[in-house]
Each structure stands twice: as C-alpha cells, then as structure tokens.
C-alpha cells in the first residue's frame, strides 16, 4: 500500500504547525518553549555554575550537561514512569552531543552549564523539539554559540519520504522508518542522526534534503522568538 495522503492532511514536505517563546522560566539563566504539532518542550538553562564533584570538571573548558525528561502525564494516556530511564539517558546524551559543537565554553573552565528539557505533552519528535528549545534557551542564557541548532525528524512510510512524523505516522501499520536529525544550517553540519527502521542510501539522501528545508523553517521560528523577547528591551538601551 502506498501512503498517498497524510493522516493530518499535511504535504509530505511540511512540518506540523510550530510556535516558540523565549524566557518562560524566569528564575533560570535562560529558557525557552518550543511546540511542534502536539509536542511541547520546555528547556531551562542554569549556569555556567560550579561543577561538583570538582574532579569531574574539565579544567580547560566548561561542560554541557543535558537532562531530558518526559513528564508523567505527557503521553497518550499511559503514565510515564518518573525518573531516569534507559531511553531518557540516551536522549540526554545525544542532545548534549548535538548541542556541544556549536557552543564555545572555553571561557568558563571548571564549570558546568545545565540544560533541563521537560516534555509537557508528547506526540512524536520529542528529542527534536527538546533540542530546538534547548538551543534557544542557551542563546537566552548568553552562552557563546557559533550557530543555533534546529532539529526535525524525517521518515519513510509506504515508500514515501515524509517530513516531521506524528505519533500516528510513526505507528503506521505498514511500518515506518524514523530518522531524527539535528542541523546547524549556517555551518551546514549534521549534529545528530538517529535512525529507527530501514531506508536505502538514495532515500536517505532525499530525506536529508527535506530535513534541511525543515530545519531552515524551524530556525526562522527560533530566531523570531529570540528577537521578540529582546526587541523591546533593546529599544531603550
């Protein structure tokens, strides 16, 4: 069976509706919310701050420490068990690896920058939404960055390459391939690529073209949210 029409009526190369807001957690050094479809991520950044135990700190540069967490009530009805799991630890790690290449923490040796990502509501693409929120929160926290990081999933359903899968699509009876990608579009680098399923080399190339287009759209949403917060403040400097 060929997947001819998407469940929610989107085009195959279209992201779900997005919105973003910067500065949602007032007591944090920096924070942001990112929504794509029904997936909501909130990220808060604290630091640079002292790293304890100090033996784990890097004496030449700051360390990025991410924590990804799905809230207990966030899923499709079944309660998410609180606390770290095999899955959340893995995602925390890949989030760190996706964000680290754009950060310049050489100015803060011996310190840690903590990023907490909470998923309030989930409908597929949570690690991508988390990375998008975290990138904005890091910029809001004034951490030096070479570029923003934008992230979206791409996949294959019934022979069709589709951008930004929803949960319904991920669970397609035909079987879906899901590739989560994070990119820094200015630097033209892929910071994260994780795949679940099967895809041919040609199809993957096609998929990455779609991802780049999606990431560029997401970046515009991120930039707009950052500007919205600072536009007014800057007027009176």
């Amino acid at each position: 069976m060929v997947y001819t029409q998407r469940f929610d009526g989107r085009k195959f190369d279209e992201c779900r509706p997005m919105s973003a807001k910067v500065g949602v957690v007032e007591r944090a050094t920096g924070s942001a919310m990112f929504r794509i479809g029904k997936t909501y991520a909130v990220a808060a950044v604290y630091g640079p701050r002292g790293f304890y135990p100090q033996a784990l700190a890097n004496p030449t540069r700051g360390v990025l420490r991410c924590n990804y967490n799905m809230m207990a009530f966030s899923g499709a009805g079944e309660r998410v068990r609180p606390g770290p799991s095999r899955r959340s630890k893995e995602i925390s790690l890949v989030t760190e690896k996706a964000l680290a290449p754009v950060l310049d923490l050489t100015g803060f040796p011996g310190t840690v920058v903590d990023v907490f990502i909470e998923l309030i509501q989930t409908d597929a693409g949570t690690r991508c939404a988390g990375i998008c929120a975290a990138a904005m929160a890091l910029a809001d926290a004034g951490i030096p960055m070479k570029d923003l990081v934008s992230s979206v999933a791409v996949g294959r359903i019934g022979g069709k390459i589709v951008l930004d899968l929803s949960k319904e699509e991920e669970d397609h009876p035909e079987g879906a391939t899901d590739v989560a990608v994070a990119m820094s579009t200015r630097m033209n680098t892929i910071n994260l690529l994780q795949m679940d399923g099967e895809i041919s080399a040609e199809e993957l190339k096609e998929a990455l073209v779609l991802v780049k287009k999606g990431c560029e759209q997401i970046k515009q949403v991120q930039i707009k949210a950052l500007r919205e917060k600072y536009q007014q403040e800057a007027k009176h400097e």
């Binding site: 050094t29 920096g30 630091g47 640079p48 701050r49 002292g50 790293f51 754009v102 310049d104 050489t106 100015g107 803060f108 040796p109 011996g110 310190t111 910029a139 809001d140 926290a141 004034g142 951490i143 030096p144 960055m145 070479k146 570029d147 923003l148 820094s184 200015r186 630097m187 991120q222 930039i223 950052l226 500007r227 600072y230 536009q231 007014q232 403040e233 800057a234 007027k235 009176h236 400097e237």
Partner: protein, 232 residues
Amino acid sequence: MGLLVQDKDIVVPGQELAEGMDYLPSTDVLREKDKLVSMKVGLVSINNRFVKVVSLSGKYLPKREDIVIGRVSSIGLSGWRVDFGWPFEANISVRDAVAEFIEKTADLSKYFAIGDWVLAQITNVAGGGKIIDLSMRGPSVRKLGPGRLLRVTSAKVPRVIGKQGSMISLIKDATQCKISVGQNGFVWLSGEDPAMEAIAVHAIEKIEAESHISGLTDRMKAFLDAAVGVKA
C-alpha cells in the same frame, strides 16, 4: 561585501554580520573564513572597522575594574575569600584590604568577618575566571553596613544605574537612601527611614520588571513622587 547589519540591530547567535576582510571581529563576534558571525543575542555596535555584539542576556561575567558586591565566605592566612555569585570565589589579599599595616599574626576577622558583605573592585581576572582578585582600596569600595540586599539580573544593571547614574540618583534623592549597585547584580541599600527603604526597594524592583517599556525615567519619577508624597 561589507556590512550585513546596521549599528544597534538585534542579532542572534549564528547571524552573519559582515562579509569580506574590511571589518574586524571584536567582543562576541567570530570570524569564519571571510564572514563575521555573532555569538550572542545582542546589539551590534560598529566602531570604525570593529564589529562587536553587546550581549543582552546571561549571567554576569567578571571584568577588570568592575565594582561588585559579595559576601566574605572564608578567611585564609593572607586574605579573604568572597562569594559574589560567580562559580569561583574571589580573593582579597591583606595587602589590598585596608590602608593600615596588618601584622602577620593578626586576627583577620577583625577587619572582615565571615558573612560580612563588601563592595569591592575587581583588579584581576585570570585563568578563565578561576582566579579573581578584588581590592578594597580606592574610592567607593567599602565594607557594607546594615542594610537591605536585593538581586537584579546583571543585564539590567545599566538600567538601574541609568545614563551617568541618572536613575540611581533619582531614587537616592527621592528616598534619601544610600544605594550601592554591584555590576554583578547585587544592590545594597540603607536609609534612616524604613518606609523610604521600602519605597527604594519597590522602585528598583519596578525598574527590573518594566525596563523594556518605554518612558521608564518619566514613570519612575511619577512613581517616586507619588510614593514619597503619600508618605510625607
């Protein structure tokens, strides 16, 4: 070729600011091949050929000659350690503490005890911010007496102080309070009259909350006139 932004534009990390070799990167600007790229959210400031970004957010980063407020956290053999809201404590050496001569065997807590708050000047930042020296010699720096301590976001400190100290003098004159603002976001204030102190605290909180809405100085004037008027 040339500039891609204007002076005072808001930029975000990764935004290209200029092309070609005509411009040079300054604070928070990165050169990548022939492009200048912003590393922070901030305002572009162009000075001749130098392009810099004035950061609008984030934690206080210690700079030489800044005046900061901190708390004495421990006493060593030859000086004091001061916590001023930075991951690493700063050091005040005996030499830079007081004008008088201190004996090697003297009890240093006579001068500054643990828990005392001080207004001090940063004289040295080294080791990527790990080593910070403070000095208690010079005008305006001192041990802070009884008073109230507030914390504002360090990015808002320039708004609390105002142009050439206009905003802070406005509050000082209206409330007759002594106020010291540290660049690290700590504000110390003390007045004869507790009611006036409360008005000053309120005023500083108001600046922090409303600094992004235009006409701040006029609004603060009106607020202080009304608040002090009611009291008198």
